[in-house]
Point group: C2
Chain length 405, copies 2
């Protein structure tokens, strides 16, 4: 079989993290790299050569890259706001498309993805690595085995202190800064919502009906910058106010009756968490504590809260039976990319490419998950008014069958 020829666009942080994972697949070759900054292209070429691979060509023009005959697959690792534009061009040129995660600037962008896919039938996958996370897949398998009963609620968060990145100097060209200065929304919903959407079959028998979002005030960035007035590199940010609320909560009602809650939590001091939580009539999983609790398990009643009496880390007891084999047999090289989930995600993507199978996270998932950003922005702007979530499948969700990652 011929090699899969990949053109990579977006060579900043995301590109650097993803490149080594791409090159772990013997039948994948990076033929062209592309960025608006030429220095990034040279840097990426050097990194690829250092790994013993042939130096790719480079271009500053993504359209030129997409048009090339030696590009079969386009991997989009660029800034959030450029994802859709590049993905549309790629689909139109018939190049199989993989697009990094991020929220949508508008619902129209999401429809553009769907419409272009339906016109061109070019496969596209959202690179939502958390769908391949260890806890997410362990719990997904436990859900499918019925251990939690009927699922009625899930919760997730993107809880990640990004204050350093958001306040970075211009030389870091950090794409998040303008978003935090000018928008107020759940700007990064797919890490938490993606795995949940798969569990409750969004777009495949179920759909989001409406959502509401509310935001706290935005004080985290200003406090962070003010506390570092003497040392902060990006002097322009001193005294600036940020629009992005420190905590944004979104409540989503689904057609099958589940209520999902999401939290964006990126500008206050904290440890990393996705707060992944699955609640069913027969049990729960909570990432906070890595705790499984099944109906009939003993629990203290309300006499006193003992914060630590629950069984911590007991989800590990279920791994023998429910953790996918590829997670059990993970190699050190696979672990490099976000603990392993990047590798498993690209493995699934390239498998679908090779076998011409449906993408495990398809255009309808991509559109629905990314839309949460634009819809949450609208709801917050309207004081927490519920906003209808479009059905990007135009009714097809009723009969589309489950497709687990």
């Amino acid at each position: 079989m011929d090699k899969i020829k990949v053109g990579m666009v977006g060579l900043g942080g995301r590109g650097e993290v993803n490149m080594p994972r791409l090159l772990m697949f013997p039948d994948v070759e990076i033929t062209v790299v592309c960025d608006v900054y030429e220095d990034r292209c040279h840097n990426m070429i050097k990194l690829i050569e250092e790994k013993g691979h042939k130096a790719p060509d480079f271009t500053l023009d993504y359209k030129e890259m997409i048009a090339r005959a030696d590009v079969d697959v386009v991997c989009i690792f660029s800034s959030w706001e450029s994802h859709v534009e590049i993905a549309l061009e790629s689909m139109r040129k018939g190049k199989i498309t993989a697009v990094e995660v991020g929220g949508a600037a508008s619902v129209q962008e999401c429809w553009d993805l769907v419409n272009t896919y339906e016109e061109t039938k070019t496969p596209i996958m959202l690179l939502e690595n958390c769908c391949y996370g260890r806890a997410e897949l362990l719990v997904r398998n436990m859900v499918r085995a019925g251990l939690f009963g009927e699922i009625v609620h899930c919760h997730g968060a993107y809880a990640h202190d990004l204050r350093r990145q958001v306040s970075a100097g211009k030389e870091e060209r950090h794409y998040r800064q303008n978003h935090y200065l000018n928008r107020n929304c759940d700007n990064y919903p797919t890490h938490d919502f993606g795995p949940i959407a798969k569990i409750i079959d969004i777009n495949r028998g179920n759909r989001m009906v409406s959502l509401v979002s509310m935001a706290s005030k935005a004080r985290g960035m200003e406090q962070y910058i003010n506390d570092r007035k003497e040392t902060i590199v990006n002097r322009d940010l001193i005294g600036k106010s940020f629009q992005q609320g420190d905590i944004v909560k979104t409540l989503i009602t689904c057609e099958n009756g589940e209520m999902v809650s999401l939290t964006l939590d990126t500008t206050l001091p904290r440890f990393y968490s996705r707060e992944f939580t699955v609640r069913g009539t027969k049990g729960l999983y909570e990432e906070n504590g890595n705790t499984v609790f099944l109906d009939g398990d003993s629990h203290d009643d309300y006499v006193a809260v003992d914060y630590l009496k629950r069984e911590l880390d007991n989800a590990t007891k279920f791994e023998d039976e429910y953790l996918p084999d590829f997670w059990k047999n993970i190699t050190p090289e696979q672990i490099e990319g976000h603990g392993g989930m990047d590798y498993f995600m690209f493995d699934a993507f390239f498998k679908a490419v090779r076998e011409k199978k449906p993408m495990p996270i398809d255009v309808y998932d991509t559109a629905a998950w990314m839309a949460i950003t634009a819809l949450s922005e609208e709801s917050i702007r309207k004081g927490g008014t519920p906003v209808e979530v479009p059905d990007f499948t135009r009714g097809a969700y009723k009969t589309r069958e489950r497709l687990d990652v």
Copy 2:
């Protein structure tokens, strides 16, 4: 000084739990007990005598009890739906009133409390014991000392598996059952909201502006009953559907910009938690893990989620400096009532009675906190529409000074 003569109305579970705490105060005497069920009156008299105290009188008519000259203070431990009616009568008769927690059936009930208080000036306190909880007071003191910086968000939950109680047989006369069959709301918001309201100065410099609530489907009770078809005592419940969503989430926007989230979570298998969480620009507290994280504490970045790497139970390190002395010196007898918080709550109440000081949880707090139930019910009924929260202080919150419990 004369003894404080207490009339107790409501002699079910709540009355039985509270009675021994009342009798720990040497200057408090229970003179009359009251319930609509005569057997409960006799039982309570017996329990009081067994503790070496004089047998109180009893009556089945709360109005008669309130009117008696040997009742100075009325303690209301009856069913949720009777709290307000009895409290209004008690205030009108000039009897200092203590009322157990529960949600309001309507916003009008809350106004009735406020209006009657303003007409009569009879002191009333909501018996929100969680305001006196160990973690809640430790963290409140840390907030006041500035350790968490400016507070931007708080979260709390009433997460308590009540499926046995809600499905109890008629002989238990459990007041919750009808609520779960017929309503859909955050029916018990004060355990989580009370301590948060105190921290962010609701009614004293701050107020709730609006809230939205959404509910998951209601499947927990039906599954629970169906799984116990052969053994369940209350045969009437088999096949019944419940209106109360298993998980209800409420998002509250406050005038000073904080966003508060609350969860009601009582009909699915789980361990008890109040999920008490305080987030500021300089640090956080999370009950889940009993974790304090302050700006500058080291944390793993996003390479891999390690669910247990955060410092568990490190809030205990702050107890020396910030835990109130009465919690440090707690006695075994005090611990009996919900781990101690019941005793500290009644201690504060009787102190205010003796010294004729303002009630630490006053009528405006009572009205605002209880109103969340009625407002959440309205928001859920309207599909998650934001509902304005009345200002029960009629503008006085702007100048009312902080009153910590």
